[in-house]
Structure formats: C-alpha cells, structure tokens
Symmetry: C2
Subunit: 720 residues, 2 copies
C-alpha cells in the first residue's frame, strides 16, 4: 500500500480515537444541577469568545489568502486556507471537549482520584490525538492530492509552495489564537485574583467573584484552544519543513520513487507515532503510590519505547528496505553550482552521504531530546525539587524576594534545555547533516499527540477545581483536583518547553530552506551569511529584538486588560452589595464580554509584528545597501529570532510554572500555608508568572515560525 495512504489512515485512526473517547467522556455523569449550570456558563462564555476571536482572525485570514493567491497562485492559496481552517477547527474541538470534561472530572474526582484523572486525561487525549491527526491529515492529504492525483513531481515547486502556504495558514491562525487566548485567560485570572483574593479576601473560584466564570473560560480558550492551535502549527511546520528541505536539497539527485519515499517518511513517522500514542494512553493510570505524575509518565514512556522499533520499521519501509545504502551523495554538488557563495555553504549544509540507519539514529536523537526536555522541565516546575522550593522559601522574606528568586530560576531554567538542544543539533548534524536535524525535529513532533494529551488535561482539572469550589462540593474533591492541577502546571510547562525546543531545530531547517530557496531563485545574488558581515549582525540583533518587543506587548496587554477586569469587578461589588452578602448573583456574562473585547483588541498588533517585520527589514536594508545585504539581514533575522526567542520563551514558561507551583507548595502547608505572609508573596509571584507562562512565553513559538515562513514566502513572491 502507498506510504502516504497509510499515513492518512493513521490520521483517520486518530480522529476515530477522538470520537470514541469523546463519547466515553461525555457518557460520564455531570453531577448536580448546580454543577451543570456552572459548566453551562463556562461553555457559553468559551464559545462566545472563540466565535468572536475566529471571526476577527477570519478577516486577517481572508486578506492574507487573497495576497497568497495574488503572489503565489491558486494552489498555495487553497493550502493556506486548509491550514488556517484546520488550525481553527483544532482549537474549537479542543475547547468543546474540555468545557464538557471539566464538570465530569469534578464529579469523577468526588468518586476517586483515579476517576478524576482518567476523565481529565481522556479529554486531553482527545485534543492531543485530534491535533496530531488533523495536522497529519492536512499535510499528507495535500501531498497525496498534488502528487498522486494532480500528478506533480514530489519536488515540484507547486508542491513545495503548497506545503509552505499550508504552514503559513496554520501559523498565522495559531499566533492569534495563542495570543488572544493567552491574553483572555490571564487578564481574567489576574483580574479575578487581584480583586477577589487580595482585596475582597474571598478564595479562588469563589462564586461571588464576578470574574470567576471568565477565569474558567480562560483556561479553555487559552490553555486548551490556544495551545491546541499552537501545537497544530508546530506539527505542520516541522513535518512540512522536513519535506520541503528534503525536496530542495536532495530532489535533483534521487529517483522520483526514492524521493517520494523519503518525502513520505516524515508523514509515516507521524502516522505510526499516533498509533503508539494511542497505545500509550491506555497505560495512564495510578499505581500503588497514587503518583499522578507517575501515571502520566507511564503513558509517555510506553509511547516513546514503542516508537523506537516503529520508527525503525517505517524508515526501512520508506527507503525501500535498505537501511545502509548511502542517500544524498548524488545531490552533494547540486543545487546552485553557478553561485560562487553557495557551493561552500552547501558543503557545510553537508550533503555528504548518509544512510537510512543514520536517519533512524537522528529520530532517536529527537526522542531523547524530548525525554530530556520533559525531565528538565519537571525538575524546574515540580514541587518536588530545589527550584520551586527555593522560590517558596524566598517567599518567607516577602514579595520582593519571591519575585527575585523566581526571576533567577526563570533565567537559570534556560541552561540545560539549551545544552540539550545544542548537543542534539550536533549529533543529528554529524549523522546526516541538515536533513538529520530535520528528522530529529520530526520525530520530536511525532509524539505531539501524547504530549498534548498530557497538557490539555491540565486546564480540565483546573476548571474541575473551580466548579467543585463554586458548586460547594466537599473539600476532599478540591484537594484531589488541586493535586491533579499541580501536576497540570508542570505538564503545561513541559509542552511549552517541548514546542520551543522543537522550534530550535525547526528554525534551523527553515533557515536551510530559506538559503536553498535563495540559491534557486536568486542564483546571481551572492549573499554572504558570515558573521563578519555587519548586516548579518544587524539582522541578528533585529531578530533578537522581536521576542522582547512581542513579550512587552503581551505583558502590557495582560496588565491593561487585567486592570479593566479589576475596575469592572469593583464596580459590580460597589453597585450590588448583595453579591458579597451572597444574596444576589454577580453578572458573570458582563465580565466575560469585557475580557472578550479586550483580548481581541489587544491580540491584533503583536500578532502582526512577526508578519510585517521580515518584510520591512528586507525592504529597508535592500534600499540602503542593496538586495544582497537585504537577503543577508533577513536571513540573520530568522536566526536572531530563534536565538533570542528560545531563551525568552524557556525562561518565561519555566519561570511561570515554578512560581505557580511555589504557591501550591505553600498552600500544601509549607512555610505557614494558606493565609500566611509567605502565601501572599507567593500569590504575587504567581500573578507575575501568569502572563509570563500563559501569554507572552508560549506565543513566542508560533511567532518564530511565522517570521521564518514569511521570509520564505517573501522570496517566492519576489521571484515571481
């Protein structure tokens, strides 16, 4: 059977898993009428927000689709629309299952920890499998249609342009979804906490707080829908970039059949890992020690171990059975012989021959990177280890020392992942050159189904805790959901570290695609990417600036929108004293509506930053110093944004997770427990960490991709 067809079948299996598992989740009890009522309010708010958000994004999307059509043609425009729409669909489905699973998890947790974990994780797994499945279907379906139905050669420019446009569609929607959702969730969270916990002195998720529903809506539209769109984008971009780079670098040196197999390999890697992820989900259950993290780890480890032989087998299949025959030797001298700069670059890109076995080892490198990043992130964000405990201890001496220690940990948390990524780059590159790095990134992303499952479980448990509190369930239920939620903070940080780590590899691949495209389109322009070229340094600096500026905008947006929530809640308390007395209900919908408007307004400008900057930098530098320096600066910008973005994102997501769990660690009874001065300081740290880890930090990942993809599209548009 055709490899791509098998990959498509695997994608369909993921969708089937999603449908079956959704039914299983939905068949569970929703608990009392009060719980159903609360959940309905959250559902309504989440739907209303996502509807408005996607309507707004659609306007930008349509403009972009028209531009893609005008500059690149009909097929890329169609691919762009597919990527954009499916990105939106992924977010919508993720949100829909999560707003239904939350109340069922609360009810499940009232029965047992295992039942709560099981429901929350199943809901996460639905989102996870649909992210991976839909992404795989989109890219494999497009490739199959263009090559096997329309009849293009696998490395035809039409196929490459379509893959890049698909990635652009997915990325563009993702950055809006990630940022809009991130601003919504944290504006509501910060606002609710500031007036509720700090001013009014009522606990988190108290039904008297007019922002409490908005806060719970936020978990679903930000941590769930936004995250799903983000990982969908990461999957498409990574797998797509691997295929594009394979076509560009090796296309002219291989037989059409062999190239088809090699380009299909990333797809079947994704396909087979969906199957191993589905098997892995079965193993997520509490052991004798009742360790929640242990239960999740079991599923992850089973998936990873099963993936190893599976990757070997599909590689062998895709390469026609021979794992030791050299690949790439024929292409060693190809792409741009007439370009005096390029050959040297190409030698460095290493098209020295590598074998199927080398590729397999690169995939193992990807799996090892994923495992290490999971482990390092857990170290930095779990309540078990030094970093979180040090922040908790620093809370004893006040707000200031809590924040100082949290910032120190957030800076420190970048070190080990960076070393892992550097070693991974060197290992994969030594094995199989740039193609090796691409396949390492692909095998990282192949586990996305499982990783997203672990992450999407988090907001469900967070919501479940909120519902338990608002519905006045027994304290033991809240204790169980809190335990689930603390692990959720870690798994949420893990996904972000994983996404940005894979971005580190993917950006190199995209840069490779950029330089190769440059050789193809502008063979007569000698671009010098050496660090001794000051325009390269300027490009690096401008690229490095993007995550900072973007982060500043994200943080300011949360601060501003959060401030509006504070004023709204104060106003409701003031005009309706019955709320605090418990005699009348606050107007939840008004707060949701306010946050919705604020988040959508605030997401536009920062999201356009990575779209417009590469274009502006190219044209300004080209005008000042000529086209070749324009290309050099633009290329350097692509690496600058990853070199700086990696650190900004890692520090923000790990630091934020650590602050959050330091608060939970104190709430568990350490350093005086709830209500102590240390706890107040820890709440401050948590508030600071919120926009760090859930707004600005994670949105850096799609931002990096967009910058890269826009640059590649710009080359195509300039060449046309």
């Amino acid at each position: 059977m055709d490899i791509v067809v098998v990959a498509i079948l695997c994608g369909l299996a993921a969708v089937l898993y999603g449908i079956v598992t959704s039914r299983s989740v939905l068949s569970a009890s929703s608990g009392s009428a009060r719980m159903v009522e609360i959940a309905a309010a959250i559902q309504e708010g989440a739907k209303a927000y996502l509807g408005r958000q996607y309507t707004t994004i659609a306007v930008v999307g349509i403009v972009m689709a028209v531009l893609v059509f005008l500059f690149l043609g009909a097929i890329p425009a169609a691919a762009f629309v597919i990527g954009a729409v499916l990105s939106g669909v992924t977010g919508f489905i993720g949100m829909n299952i999560s707003v239904r699973a939350n109340v069922r998890t609360a009810q499940g947790a009232s029965e047992s920890l295992q039942r709560g974990l099981s429901l929350a994780f199943k809901s996460g797994a639905v989102t996870g499998m649909l992210v991976a499945g839909l992404a795989l279907l989109a890219i494999a379906g497009l490739f199959y249609a263009l090559v096997n139905i329309v009849g293009y050669a696998p490395n035809d420019r039409a196929v490459i342009d379509a893959l890049v446009a698909l990635a652009f569609g997915a990325s563009l929607i993702s950055i809006f979804a990630r940022l809009g959702g991130g601003i919504f969730t944290k504006a509501a969270d910060v606002g609710a906490d500031l007036v509720g916990k700090v001013e009014a002195g009522i606990p988190e998720d108290d039904p008297r707080n007019p922002a409490v529903i908005a806060d719970n809506v936020g978990d679903n539209v930000g941590d769930c829908a936004g995250m799903a769109a983000d990982l969908f984008e990461t999957y498409i971009v990574t797998v797509g970039a691997t295929m594009v780079l394979t076509a560009l670098l090796l296309g002219s040196g291989l037989t059409s059949n062999f190239l088809y197999g090699l380009m299909a390999l990333p797809l079947i890697i994704g396909g087979v890992c969906i199957l191993t992820s589905i098997v892995g989900t079965v193993f997520v259950r509490l052991g004798g020690k009742q360790s929640i993290m242990g239960a999740l780890y079991k599923g992850f480890i089973v998936t990873t171990l099963l993936s190893i032989p599976a990757l070997y087998l599909v590689t062998q299949w895709a390469l026609g059975g021979d794992m030791s025959a050299p690949i790439g030797a024929a292409a060693a001298t190809s792409p741009a012989v007439d370009n005096p700069v390029a050959p040297q670059d190409q030698t460095v890109l290493s098209m020295s021959p590598f074998t199927g076995m080398d590729l397999f080892w690169c995939m193992i490198v990807g799996l090892v990177i994923t495992g290490l990043i999971v482990w390092i992130t857990e170290y930095y964000t779990s309540t078990e280890y030094r970093p979180v405990k040090s922040i908790a201890a620093a809370s004893v001496t006040g707000h200031g020392t809590n924040v100082i220690q949290g910032l120190a940990i957030s800076l420190e948390a970048t070190a080990l992942p960076t070393l892992v990524i550097c070693i991974g780059i060197i290992a994969a590159y030594t094995l199989a050159g740039l193609i090796g790095i691409a396949f390492a990134a692909t095998s990282m992303l192949a586990l996305a189904g499982m990783v997203v499952a672990l992450d999407a479980y988090g907001p469900v448990t967070d919501n479940a805790g909120g519902i338990a509190e608002m519905a006045g369930l027994d304290d033991s239920v809240r204790t169980r959901t809190d335990a689930l939620d603390a692990v959720g903070n870690t798994t949420k940080a893990v996904t972000k570290g994983y996404a940005i780590g894979s971005a580190g590899l993917a950006a190199l691949v995209l840069f490779g695609a950029y330089t190769t495209d440059l050789d193809t389109y502008f063979a007569n322009v000698e671009v010098d990417f050496a660090l001794s070229n000051p325009f390269v340094v300027v490009g690096l600096l401008l690229g490095a600036l993007l995550p900072y500026l973007f982060g500043a905008m994200g943080m300011t947006a949360v601060g501003r929108a959060g401030g509006e929530v504070v004023r709204e809640v104060r106003e409701q308390f003031r005009s309706n004293p019955g709320i605090m007395a418990g005699t009348s209900k606050p107007d939840y919908a008004r707060t949701v509506d306010l946050v919705t408007k604020a988040a959508i307004k605030e997401m536009i400008l920062p999201s356009l930053l990575p779209v417009l900057t590469p274009i502006a930098v190219y044209f300004v530098i080209a005008a000042v110093a000529g086209q070749r320096q324009g290309f050099a600066a633009l290329g350097a910008l692509l690496l600058g944004v990853i070199v700086s973005g990696l650190f900004v994102a890692l520090s923000m997501t790990s630091g934020g997770g650590a602050w959050d769990n330091a608060k939970k660690y104190i709430e568990d009874g350490n350093h005086g427990g709830k209500g102590s001065e240390a706890h107040k300081a820890a709440v401050t740290g948590d508030t600071v960490g919120d926009p760090y880890k859930d707004t600005a930090g994670p949105a850096v990942n799609p931002m990096i991709k967009i910058t890269n993809i826009v640059a590649i599209l710009l080359l195509a548009a300039l060449a046309h």
Copy 2:
C-alpha cells in the same frame, strides 16, 4: 609634538583636574559631629570591603598573570598587570572621593539645592576624569613605550598582544569589582528594606536599622567603585580594540608613519574629549527652573558640541592634514590571501578605501548614538514620562501588576536602543567598514569622563540622603537629596545603557580582531562563519546562554546574601530590644562584615564563567568536530553573547531604573503617596529591580568583553 605624547598630557590633565577638584570638595564643611561619625562608619566599611575584595581578586589576578606570562611572554604579562592594577586603583579612588563627598553633599544640601548638586557633581567628575584619564594614560603610555622607546613597529605582534593583555587585565578585575560590589550593595539594600521598611515599619536609612550602614557602604563599593572599574574596562577595551583592528587590517598596506598616526588617533580622540569634558563640567549648574536634569544636560551638551570641532581637528592632525585622501585601499586584498574562505570575508569586512572625512563622520555617528541612548534611557527611567508613570499606576492594583508592568517596560526598553545601535552600525560601516564601527565606538567612549561624572554623582546623593536621615537633619534636606537622587537613578541607568550600547559596537570590532587573528595564525584552517553552519548556530546559542546563566547566578547571589542580612538584622532586633527603642546602637560593623564575606564568596563563580566558557566550548567542539568547527563555534559564541547580552543588560538596567523611580514618583505624593498600598507595591518593584539594575544587568558588559578577549588570547596561546 608627538600625538601620543599629547594624548598622555591630556590624561595627565584629567589627573590634575581630579586632584584640584578633590581638594575643592574636601575643603567643604562636613557638618555636625554626628554626620562625621556616620560618614566615618561608611568610610571604614567601604575601605574594609574593597580591601578584602581586591585581596581576593589579586589571587585570581596573579594566577592569570602567570598564565599570560607562560603562554604569551613577559610584555603581555606586564601589560596585564598594569590593566589590572589601574582598574583596581580607579575603583579605590572613586570610592575614596565618594565616601568623603557624601557627608559634604548632605551638609551642602542643607544650605541649598545648588550647593548639594555642585558638591555631588564635582565628586562624580573626579571619578569620571580619573576613569578616562587613567585609562588613557595606561593605553597611550604602553603604546608609546613599546613603539617609541623599545622600538617596535606600531603593528608588531608584540604591541598587539600587549594591548589585548592590557584589556584583559582591566576586564578581569572589572567583572569581579562590578559583580562583587553589585552583590554587596543589593544584598545590603534588599536586606535592609525587607526587615526595616516592611517588617519593622521604620523608614529607609533609619539609624535603628542594623543594615543601614552596610546599605550606604554598598552605594560606594557597588555603584561607585564597581561602576568606575567597569567604565575603565570599557574605555580600555574599546580604544585598544580600535588600535588592534587598525593594525591588523591596515597594518601591511600603510607607511609606518601613517599607521602610527592612525593608531594614535583613538588615543588623541580620548585625549581631546577629556579636555571638552572638563570644560563641560563648568556648565553643570541649576538654571532658573531649578531643573537638576537640565543642569546635568547642560554639561553633557556643551561637552558633546565642543567635541565635534575638536574631533575634526585631531583627525586632520593624526592623518597628516589631508581629510580626503583614501585610506585602506592598499590593504584591500592583504591579510590572508592563501586562505580560500578569508578573502571573501575580508571583502565583506570592507577594506574599500575611506577618507579621513569618512572617519570623522563615523565619530559623529558615535556621538549621535550616545546622545540618543542618553535620551531614550531618560525617557524610560525618568518620572516625567509614560513608562515610569505606567508602573506607578499599575502599583495601585497591587504588587503583581506593578511587577508585570515593570517587566513589560523592561522588555520594551530594549527596542529603541537596539534600533539606534543597528542604524549606527550600518551608518559607520557604510562610511568606513569595520574600522568605521571601531571609530564610532571610540568616540562614544571618549565621552566617558562626562558620562561617568553624571553617574558617580548618583551614589553620593543617595548616601547624602542616608546621612541626612540618620543624623536627623531637617526634612527639607532630605527632600533636596531625594530630588538629586531621583535624577541619579536616571543617570545611573544612562551609563549602563551607554556602556552596553558601546559594547554592541565593540563586540563587532573584537569579533573582527578574532577573525583577522584567525586568518593570521591559522591560515590553513578554513573556518566557515556562515549561519548555515550548525556549529555557528550552536555557538550562537551557547553564547546567548551566558548572560542568562550569569544573570541567574547574580540574582540568586543577591537573594541568598540578602536573606542572610534579613536573618542577621532580625537577630539583632531580637537579642537587643534597645535598638528599636532607640536606647542602644545596633552593631553596624557585624552586618557590614557579614555582607562583605557573602559578596566575596558569591562573586567568584559567576565571574569565572566568561573566562572558562570560551575555552571549554573551543576544546569540546574541536574534539568532537575538528579544529575548524571549534573556531567557528567559538567565533559564533562571541556574537551570541553580545546579541543576547545586549537585551538582557538593557532590559535589566532600564527596567530596574524605572521601578526605582516609579517608587519615587509615588513617594512624591502620587497614587496615595508614602504608606499607601500602591507605595508598598512600588517598594516590591524597587526591590526586584535592585539586583536587575545594579548587580546582574551592568555586569553583563564586562562579561561580554572578557568572553571576547579570552577568545582572542586563546588563539594567540594556541598559535604559540
């Protein structure tokens, strides 16, 4: 007369100015016996700390001197010792004048604002002129001795090695001084604030606080001595790197006489700007509006404007009178013709001919960059503008929103300086290639005397306020010193932005020296610095990691040492209840001693990070992938550290200054004034900003230089 001799005379003029002005400051009244007693305690603590600090550094310094002697020979070892010793001397003198001026400024402020400003500024000017003067004397003296006395050619390897070793000595001592002083001052400050203001509820600088003397000592050993050593280092490295680059790139193509003039040009630029700075100091006086910032600006503007014709005249002189003759054409093809990679790089480094007029315009670019950075930093850190006001407004909704807004501003504050630096790089490069960038950086640093004067005035006024408070002077005195201090926060941030901005240019120059040295020493090794080489990417990532890891260590050190101060102060309050009652005196010396030990212990490891990392990266990568990739990764590391360090340093120093002044803005009666909830939140922000702006952030500047210099020395050592 010989140009270098004139430069030396200018350096001596600076020293003379220092002596005369010191006498003028010392002749002012020290006020009451109580004030003298307090000042004596501060003096004693500062001397004890610096003594211990330099003793510890001396151990490291001697080891390094021996290594330099063994690997490079006697002259470089001697140059290293000169740089190291003078760096220490600069710090000592700066501290000595500042601990005497503080009490006189307090007394002066009791007479009038003008008198306080005048004394504080004069004391700052002594430090400023000595920094510039001693740095110029060191480098001009060394150059003169080697060329005119010993008889080496200006571009002889012995001269180049000596200049690099001199810079290494200055940088190595500076990073210890900056970091050790930074940890001391902020550990004492944070500790004093946390127990004093927050727990005991006593005002800042209350004599009952056992950490109050340590806090005031910190201003002198950190903000004054540490800063002086830092700027001394920046001056030496920038001027030295310009000379070295001139020798390396143009040495073989020019006549010996012309080369001597061109290499002496940076020295005479420094010399003449000392004279314009001295003239500028005369104009620092309050106008009709009593604007303190205005008074300081007057001095700065006069200096800058006078420097323009002065720079033109000395350039004309150094180049033999002809400003329009082409320079560098003969060298266009020289350094490493036998290296197939290098020629292309060299073309890009641009040795296309440029004229004296081009160089003059590059110097103007440097002045414009300096002016713009001063103006941007003032915008971000002064109480007059949106950034500080936005942090103050965010304080109303609590600690969390204050910190969020402060972080947002700190991220945002990197944008404009980066754009200015990028435009400056392009402008200078377009005018005169890499040499143009070097001369732009040199003219920036030529203003160091004036800039340091503006900065060093800050800690003196801060101390004066403390002495006024402790000695129980009239509230009007404290109001005046507070007004002076608020401006001091801005000027302190300005110097840091200026130092790191110049580092952005200097790092490019040092990278140029690295690649040129590589071509000279290892002409047979083809090093590929293109961004498409994954080892370059790995180098960039590892370089970018350094400021993060270094920042984490600095922040943790302050947190840990500050925690020790908190425990010590609590213990004194507990064991001696008479302190709070005002019946017995706290043991100030015990606290000073404790902070001294903690700071010295904590400074060692992070200071060695930039010394050891380049060596480790080279040897590890060379072992894995061969020498050429080792050189590529090492070179990329040098740029990675600046690309990331620029942002880390700018965000930390501007953000910290903004937080500090947001607190002052509230204390001025906005948002409820002192004692309000907003004020408490602003104190938290200030505490967080302290290690940002005074420990981790500013130490990034010498860190960048050391990394670069160690790499250059490593090349020399490997070649020998």
